[in-house]
Symmetry: C2
Subunit: 134 residues, 2 copies
């Protein structure tokens, strides 16, 4: 079947993208820090068309992304089969909570320390692709 | 030992960052396509302080990144141990070759089709971090 041809890149529909987003706990946020793009991995939660992350209150991420367009990416790579998938979410980021008591909805973070600033990316574009392996 | 405390984030030195970059074949490039940041995974090669990738001659990536600052990220995540590492390369991208005959130095690409445009990111900032797991 041609669809499974090795090296072929197939677009995913939006439902499949959200299923894949819900299946992981670490993704990568990209934003502009004033001197170009930056990419950093962090824990996230995908709920109802939005991506939630937590960061430190005075982090560059917290200071820079407010009301700006950012990108959020999740992927899975199989080096043995030269295959994988990726999902890209684009949208505006905003601060939804300063969660001093850990009560707000949001991801559990692996990094210790104060991650009380809860950010949300409101997805206005969700695209994904799957690379067929051998 | 405090260094191995679970949830602790440790900065990597530049040599270690280049060793980790050399250990992988897929990373993620982030660039601005005119309406905000985009992140896409692709094959790469890390050589002598530079990152090489291949793309299609008329791709958005090829058209947009020329002589602009981009970011390139590689990471490894261990969901079981809630740990991992990531390396971030920042620098200006340029076209080094239009490799119609596949003779230029550069990564082997998993995606089939014409990937004759060889781009290089000249790293002016390389940072990395390791998150200690449980």
């Amino acid at each position: 079947m041609d669809t499974w041809q090795s090296g072929r890149l197939v677009e995913l529909d939006e439902d499949e993208c959200w299923e894949l987003l819900a299946s992981r706990v670490v993704g990568r946020v990209a934003y502009d820090d004033g001197s170009g793009p930056v990419v950093l991995p962090l824990n996230y939660q995908a709920v109802d068309g939005r991506i939630r992350v937590r960061t430190a209150p005075h982090s560059v991420l917290g200071l820079r992304v407010r009301d700006r367009r950012v990108a959020f990416e999740v992927d899975d790579v199989d080096e043995f089969r030269s295959s994988g998938w990726s999902v890209l979410v684009r949208g505006r980021a905003s601060i939804v909570d300063v969660d001093l008591h850990g009560r707000a909805e949001g991801p559990r973070t692996w990094v210790s320390g104060n991650r009380s600033l809860v950010l949300e990316i409101d997805a206005d574009e969700v695209t994904g692709r799957r690379l067929m392996g051998s």
